[in-house]
């Protein structure tokens, strides 16, 4: 049996596939204080439901928010930061830019909390830009610095010396000195966490690494232990932000790579869902309670970004490019000073939540509108776990929107949706445009509780003609874990002009990287001849301050020439132009991946009439309520097709298919919605 577990804020999702292809997916409440408890609870449920022996569990892939939460809840370590003397404040000064453009009352924008002034100490040493030692490392200044920090209760150290990415010797010496005297102290070296130039960015990543290390460490060791106690001896694999799995050991060594572990699983899941159904280019739209996550998948590859954002701080770790827009089902609708209808960014969240949750929330939300319009079934929301109150929804919209605007509640409710859709569609467009893509060339995959509800409207706005709704959009992150490869990525700063270097020289460097990567693979006793090795170079035009990751193939005729050509093409896609100017290789990267063997899961479909009833839905464009059939997804047969207007319900979401759209169920159970030609 293969098991994928994704621990989220409220629920822990499980996706299991047994040898014979039987699939089992379910959620259990998360246990924030010690998430491993929730996981174990789930394992027990699996065992009791399927009756398999723990030993039969062959794969245990895990996505976790523990790293992110440690930051959000500020529950990380007491980090002390050692820097080159004279540069201890780099972390606080940052890049001196601000995001609050139009404000005069500014807030700090650097992650000072990681190590406030008192916990930042300079050390006597200096390495020059050419790697030469300008001022040798002074052992005593290291000892003195650490002692000073320990008095302040520091339990983890981050060390970032200038130009350690060129020559790490001083950082290594410092680490040696420290561990000799304080063997148990946790130490993160910038030359290992992120050996790339730009001291502020490197300091931030390294400090974050040290900050979450103890938390992640404790959590993962607890989990390993607990699993062993349960008799599960499958290796624990953890999803990294780049979209690949890594063994527990690696994950604990480099915790900073676990940010976005959860969403990465989701993207991989969507990718796989699309690929197996023959859709290589996807825009995934995951609309939850408070936000809407958007990701692009191009040629069945997730788009990566070199720098991600954690709690408003940008952190230089390669991660799947997931963008959040601040509007979702819980977004509150309101009227601005000039009588304009607005939706969000403020959200009612899950507590008190939308008015219809009946938990004391008064303000009208998108979900309330959905209910008023007749798109949702008050008795069958989230598998019926939550009884909705239509009255409250109606009142809220009446009072706060309809009356002030002097329009009918129906109009007001559909107005809320139209505004929401106009906002989201612009958000989605800008995400794809920024990546250099035209949304019209993509299919839209609707995820999350509210995704399928707005998917067709969004598609219309974006002139997208295909919408995909997976069988279990709710647990895609978990199932994604089972499709993710094991991946190890090691990189090194190179900094040479392309025509100032040779394929040989580059190959030499890459070989060194491969040694490291192989080691990591061996740690997970991966079958070395199944491992795929790919190389990348971060390249920029001379004088450019930003670079692009370009694939590097050393087997072709003139590898460097091809590299250059590929760079030009990519640059043209992302930046709209490319000129045949000199370029520099900033970093070299070697990625080793062991592709997963996706489990073949068989499909279970209920027999019988799939139409479970009908509802009166208000359709704005037709100025009236229509009687719309409601279909139970679990009864939809493969190959069967439907035509809008129709509502399709399933445990974890509701799909709204408006007039002009038709739908059909593919072999894999995927629901495909297509815009009809006649209507366009």
């Amino acid at each position: 049996m293969q098991i994928g577990v994704d621990v989220g804020g409220t629920f822990t999702d499980f996706s299991c596939v047994s040898r014979d292809g039987k699939t089992l997916t379910f959620k259990v409440p998360s246990t924030p204080h010690d998430p491993s408890k929730g996981v174990i609870a789930g394992i027990r449920e699996i065992i009791s439901q399927t009756g398999i022996a723990p030993a039969e569990i062959s794969v245990f892939a895990h996505g976790t928010t523990v790293a992110t939460n440690a930051v959000l809840e500020r529950k990380g370590a007491n980090v002390g930061l050692l820097t080159t003397e004279g540069f201890r404040d780099v972390l606080e000064i940052g890049r001196q830019m601000r995001t609050q453009m139009y404000s005069v009352r500014l807030r700090p924008e650097t992650p000072i909390f990681l190590a406030p002034g008192a916990r930042r100490v300079g050390v006597m040493e200096r390495i020059g830009s050419d790697g030469n030692i300008i001022k040798p490392l002074d052992e005593n200044s290291v000892i003195r610095a650490v002692e000073e920090l320990l008095i302040q209760g520091v339990d983890a150290l981050a060390i970032t010396f200038l130009f350690s990415f060129v020559n790490p010797v001083h950082e290594l010496q410092a680490q040696e000195i420290i561990l000799k005297k304080w063997p148990r102290l946790i130490v993160s070296l910038s030359s290992q966490v992120d050996p790339v130039f730009r001291e502020y960015e490197r300091t931030v990543v390294t400090a974050f690494d040290a900050y979450i290390k103890p938390t992640v460490d404790t959590y993962l060791s607890n989990l390993t232990e607990a699993l062993q106690n349960e008799g599960v001896n499958a290796p624990l694999q953890v999803m990294q932000s780049r979209g690949g799995l890594a063994g527990c050991k690696t994950a604990r060594a480099r915790p900073v790579r676990l940010f976005l572990s959860g969403p990465a699983g989701g993207v991989i899941g969507a990718l796989e869902e699309g690929r197996t159904n023959g859709f290589q280019n996807l825009i995934t739209v995951d609309i939850g309670g408070t936000s809407c996550d958007i990701a692009l998948i191009n040629n069945s590859k997730p788009l990566l970004r070199q720098e991600g954002v954690i709690d408003t701080f940008s952190v230089r770790i390669p991660m799947v490019d997931v963008n959040a827009i601040g509007s979702g089902g819980g977004s509150v609708a309101w009227i601005d000073g000039a009588g304009g209808l607005k939706v969000g960014p403020h959200s009612a969240g899950s507590d008190p939540g939308p008015a219809c949750y009946d938990k004391g929330g008064e303000k009208p939300t998108v979900t309330d509108a959905s209910l008023v319009l007749g798109l949702l079934d008050a008795n069958y929301f989230a598998n019926g776990r939550l009884q909705l109150n239509g009255q409250k929804a109606h009142l809220a919209i009446e009072k706060y929107i309809a009356q002030p605007m002097q329009i009918s509640p129906d109009k007001a409710a559909s107005g809320i949706h139209r505004v929401l859709v106009s906002q989201m569609s612009e958000g989605i467009r800008s995400v794809s445009v920024k990546q250099g893509f035209d949304p019209r060339e993509f299919s839209l995959m609707a995820l999350g509780g509210a995704g399928p509800l707005h998917a067709c409207a969004l598609a219309d706005e974006l002139q997208i003609t295909k919408v995909l709704v997976p069988k279990n959009p709710g647990v895609l992150s978990a199932s994604g874990l089972l499709n993710a490869p094991i991946e190890h990525e090691v990189s090194v700063s190179f900094n040479k002009e392309l025509n100032g270097t040779t394929a040989e020289e580059i190959f030499e460097r890459l070989e060194k990287l491969d040694v490291e990567a192989n080691q990591l693979m061996n740690d997970e006793n991966a079958d070395s001849n199944k491992v795929e090795t790919t190389y990348f170079a971060d390249i920029c035009y001379i004088g450019q301050g930003y670079h692009l990751e370009v694939g590097l193939d050393l087997r072709v005729q003139r590898p460097l020439e091809k590299l250059y050509r590929d760079f030009l093409v990519l640059h043209d896609r992302v930046y709209g132009h490319s000129v045949e100017a000199a370029v520099r290789i900033v970093n070299l990267r070697s990625v080793h991946r062991l592709p997963a063997i996706p489990p073949i899961s068989e499909l279970f479909i209920n027999q019988g009439d799939c139409v479970k009833g009908s509802r009166h839905v208000f359709v704005d464009s037709e100025e009236q309520r229509l009687t719309v059939p409601v279909i139970d997804r679990s009864f939809m047969q493969i190959g069967s097709s439907i035509e809008g207007p129709v509502i399709i319900e399933q445990g974890d979401t509701t799909t709204w298919v408006p007039r002009g759209w038709k739908g059909s169920v593919l072999e894999t159970g995927l629901l495909l919605l297509i815009k009809m030609e006649s209507d366009s």
Partner: protein, 547 residues
């Protein structure tokens, strides 16, 4: 738009269209950033895209540098004046940059494109980019010692860059010949064209969907709404006259003469008049500011102070009017030099903010240092190749009720990154020996002003031409409600032979190997009486080496 009556308006549609317009502006913006060549656009974000109504009012603008807010307005007006609407044709794109015809300084070149649905004009799309070099006496086209516009680069009057979709070959030939980096120059221009085209394409499809008469009406409706909201916000302020005076150190030419900025803000129910009578006459050096720039600074300051969540468009500007005395530093006469006007803009924005603060004490913010120290090092590398590196160093922001000022952060209209030490040292033979918060530089108070920075540079090889364009060396950022002033900026050159030279705000000097320069930028003003500062804040400041 008198046909308003006939058009029945779906209130939701107005909001939908507004979201569209914002989206369109943003899409234009990212196209502009994406396809530009020069680092100054990509890292400095010094470019902006916007939509204009047929009457030349801002319809929607993507948020870039606040100082780009509205700087295009006078240029659009000028173009409309030179080429009346009915003379324009689909596919025309107009170009200009001349400050004395509506621009702010020569590197900022604007492209403006009329948009037609069929025969009917509906709006303009426009894009402005700060170009890396537009010729003139020094590379980069911002000569600190310029005394005439003619030294600052090529001046472009309103001309057709495209005519009915055809590029003006003659013009581009002339332009290319007169700039130092013709390829990246043309590349950036094309990026601007691309941005305008996006705006055109999407506005047309919007018009096709809802009808051009209707959306034109919605446009005016949107402007009216922002106007209403702005007026409401202004009503929230007490009537009266509030004034503030601040100074720029000097104009870079006459080093011992300060430049006075004097604003009298008159709040009259729902309108704001900004009268700059008493402000310095125009100066020799390049610190003169065009009215367009003064307006931008004013719009920014007012918008930021009333900080109501008002959608930004021309409507926000209607209640605000300025009086800029002729031949003053804020309304200079040709051919005064203007390239260094940013410092002036920042100080003007600061003055207005402080004056408005007096109207609304709870919302008041102490002076930000508003010093964006410009340093440039020019010399030869070992291989004989020439280099020029520029560096913009920020200072402390002002404190306000409940909030200490922020240390070393970009304030008001500009927002530039600093240069990573490792990037600089990899590129040129200069070493940075120190980069630290400047202890004790924040103005004391119940809430402390933001700190400045200390940065030390050492020349390693070859003679270096060193440019230092500072501010706040003579006039400190003032605190409010008995908060203390921020520390003055100070910079010193330490020669290898042991002699030292104190830099008086603005100089161009030669440095030799072994010479060191230590710059300390100014601190922001404090808020409230220091005696009221909480005990733990006092302690925290001590342990964190802030005071």
């Amino acid at each position: 738009m008198k046909n308003a009556a006939q058009i029945s308006l779906d209130p939701v549609l107005v909001e939908v269209v507004r979201n569209k317009l914002e989206g369109i502006a943003n899409e234009m913006q990212s196209t502009l950033f994406k396809s530009s060549f020069s680092p100054i656009v990509k890292e400095g974000l010094d470019a902006s895209a916007s939509l204009f109504t047929l009457s030349g009012e801002t319809l929607a603008q993507a948020i870039a540098l606040p100082f780009h807010l509205a700087t295009l307005i006078p240029m659009v007006r000028k173009v409309l004046e030179e080429f009346p609407l009915d003379a324009m044709e689909d596919g025309d794109i107009f170009i200009m940059n001349d400050p004395y015809l509506g621009g702010t300084h020569l590197p900022d070149i604007a492209l403006i494109m009329p948009i037609f649905e069929g025969e009917v004009p509906i709006a303009f799309s426009a894009a402005m980019t700060h170009h890396q070099d537009v010729g003139g006496m020094t590379p980069g086209s911002v000569p600190t010692n310029a005394t005439e516009i003619f030294q600052e680069g090529i001046r472009i009057p309103p001309l057709k860059y495209y005519s009915r979709g055809e590029v003006n070959g003659t013009l581009i030939k002339i332009l290319r010949l007169n700039v130092r980096l013709p390829d990246s120059f043309e590349g950036d221009l094309n990026a601007q064209v691309a941005a305008c085209q996006i705006g055109r394409r999407r506005l047309i499809s919007l018009a096709e969907k809802f009808g051009s008469e209707k959306i034109k009406y919605i446009f005016s409706e949107l402007l009216d709404r922002s106007e209403i909201m702005t007026r409401d916000a202004i009503k929230g302020l007490p009537n009266g006259m509030f004034s503030h005076v601040d100074y720029l150190d000097n104009d870079g030419v006459d080093l011992d003469v300060a430049i006075k900025i004097n604003v009298n803000v008159k709040i009259d129910d729902d309108e704001i008049y900004l009268d700059f009578t008493g402000t310095n006459k125009q100066v020799k050096g390049p610190f003169n500011l065009m009215p367009s720039g003064a307006y931008a600074a004013a719009y920014f300051a007012v918008h930021a102070m009333i900080d109501a969540d008002v959608p930004i468009n021309g409507g926000c500007f209607r209640p605000i009017s300025l009086k800029l005395p002729e031949r003053s530093v804020l309304n200079p006469e040709e051919p005064a030099a203007v390239n260094a006007r940013t410092s002036t803009m920042k100080r003007v924005a600061g003055c207005i903010t402080s004056a408005l603060g007096k109207a609304d004490p709870p919302r008041a913010v102490a002076d930000a240092a508003g010093e964006l120290l410009l340093l440039a090092f020019g010399g030869e590398r070992e291989d004989g190749s020439r280099y020029v590196v520029g560096e913009l160093v920020a200072s402390g922001s002002g404190a306000s009720e409940g909030m200490d000022g922020v240390d070393v952060i970009e304030t008001d209209g500009t927002n530039c990154m600093n240069l990573p030490i490792e990037a600089l040292e990899l590129d040129v033979p200069i070493r940075i020996n120190k980069t630290e918060l400047r202890k004790g530089s924040g103005g004391a108070g119940k809430f402390r002003g933001g700190l400045g920075i200390i940065r030390e540079y050492e020349v390693l090889k070859g003679e270096v031409i060193f440019t230092h364009r500072g501010e706040r060396h003579a006039y400190a950022a003032q605190g409010i409600s008995s908060g203390g002033a921020g520390a003055l900026a100070q910079s010193v050159i330490y020669r290898l032979d042991g002699t030292t030279e104190v830099i008086n705000s603005k100089i161009i000097q030669k440095l030799q190997p072994g010479d060191r320069v230590v710059v300390e930028t100014a601190g922001g003003g404090g808020y409230g009486d220091i005696k009221e500062r909480s005990q733990q804040s006092v302690i925290a400041d001590q342990v964190n080496r802030k005071s």
